[in-house]
């Protein structure tokens, strides 16, 4: 059985964009079991913009699950933004998860916004000035919450949803100098600590689509400027029987997936 996942990030909605995605979104029921939004839903994170997101992505006929991005934090109206999205039936994750029943099985989605810090051997450390330690600890806490959320879900297929990238692979195309602002290896570590089948993120507008965590979990950058279409669709879990899924869960080995 297959679970059909539609995903896009970085739609940066404001009133000038309302209606742009709708024709493509109307084609979604029948083609996808869920739509995942990988953050930067708004331009400045205002409640007004969140209502634009609610209009554009609400009432689609498929469940919509989102994480916020850095843009959604810009105006310090996160509770209002989340409220507007939830009113439209959009599930907003931050350090928690949701399990959705679909014809192909139970899909678990765990989500956090995530944060920067960089990648193995070239990352910020929890050392020195309080500002630097606060930066690194923000990432550590976010990754810890992601790991906890991933482990908390009882499902057939597990997906991690973040805004920041868990791997450098999907940043290819961005200047190397800004990698530490685009993601963190700790998110990858959290993803690898659970039997995750797929990790989706956004944020890196100049990045590339495909990557893999060190533990072998497939990663996709679904930022709108990267996928260059209204959303991407992934068919997950084909040809897998329950024994294989359990095997991966028990051993944490992803060989049969790559």
């Amino acid at each position: 059985m297959v679970i059909r996942i539609a995903a896009v990030g970085d739609v940066h909605l404001d009133e000038d964009v309302v209606g742009r995605f709708r024709p493509a979104l109307e084609e979604m029921p029948g083609n996808a079991d869920v739509l995942l939004l990988a953050g930067d839903l708004t331009r400045h994170g205002t409640e007004v913009e969140a209502r634009c997101v609610a209009r554009e992505f609400g009432g689609l006929g498929v469940p919509v699950v989102a994480v916020l991005g850095n843009h959604d934090h810009q105006c310090d109206q996160v509770p209002q933004v989340v409220g507007a999205l939830e009113e439209a039936g959009i599930v907003v994750l931050e350090g928690n998860g949701v399990v959705l029943d679909s014809p192909g099985g139970r899909l678990g989605v765990a989500g956090v916004k995530g944060f920067g810090g960089g990648f193995a051997g070239r990352c910020a450390s929890d050392f020195g000035e309080p500002e630097m330690k606060a930066f690194v600890r923000t990432t550590t806490e976010s990754a810890d919450r992601l790991a906890e959320a991933l482990h908390s879900l009882d499902c057939d297929l597990l997906v991690a949803l973040t805004h920041y990238s868990p791997v450098p692979d999907t940043l290819a195309g961005e200047p190397l100098e800004i990698y530490p602002f685009l993601g963190s290896y700790q998110l990858g570590q959290a993803i690898d600590s659970a039997p995750t089948a797929l990790a989706l993120h956004g944020h890196a507008h100049h990045g590339s689509e495909r990557g893999t965590t060190p533990g072998g979990v497939r990663v996709r950058n679904v930022a709108h400027p990267v996928i260059k279409q209204a959303y991407s669709i992934f068919h997950l879990g084909d040809h897998l029987d329950q024994a294989q899924v359990s095997g991966i869960g028990a051993g944490g080995i992803q060989q049969s997936w790559s």
Binding site: H12, H206, Y231, F234, H235, D238
Partner: protein, 91 residues
């Protein structure tokens, strides 16, 4: 932000580039982190993709307004929004 001196006196320099780059993100009328500023011999060229034609036009308007003496051209595109025609199979 530091005011830039000597505009028009020489070629656009790194500080102008840095200032434009920050303006693109920090100006609420723009708020784009995905625009690159590339220096060529004749002008500074803005590259990237945005969600609407208004945003594309507004970027050039704001940057030209702020740096009237710097030759700037824009090659910013509007991101396509069609439904996918292919599905990625992840067995």
């Amino acid at each position: 932000m530091t005011r830039h001196r000597g505009l028009g006196a020489g070629p656009p320099d790194e500080y102008v580039e840095a200032e434009i780059h920050r303006l693109l993100t920090e100006d609420p009328a723009v708020a784009e982190q995905g625009i690159s500023v590339v220096r060529t011999e004749r002008a500074l060229v803005l590259y990237g993709e945005v969600e609407s034609a208004q945003r594309r036009d507004e970027i050039l308007r704001r940057v030209s307004e702020r740096f009237p003496d710097v030759p700037i051209t824009s090659d910013i595109g509007v991101i396509r929004k069609q439904a996918p025609t292919e599905i990625e199979q992840l067995p």
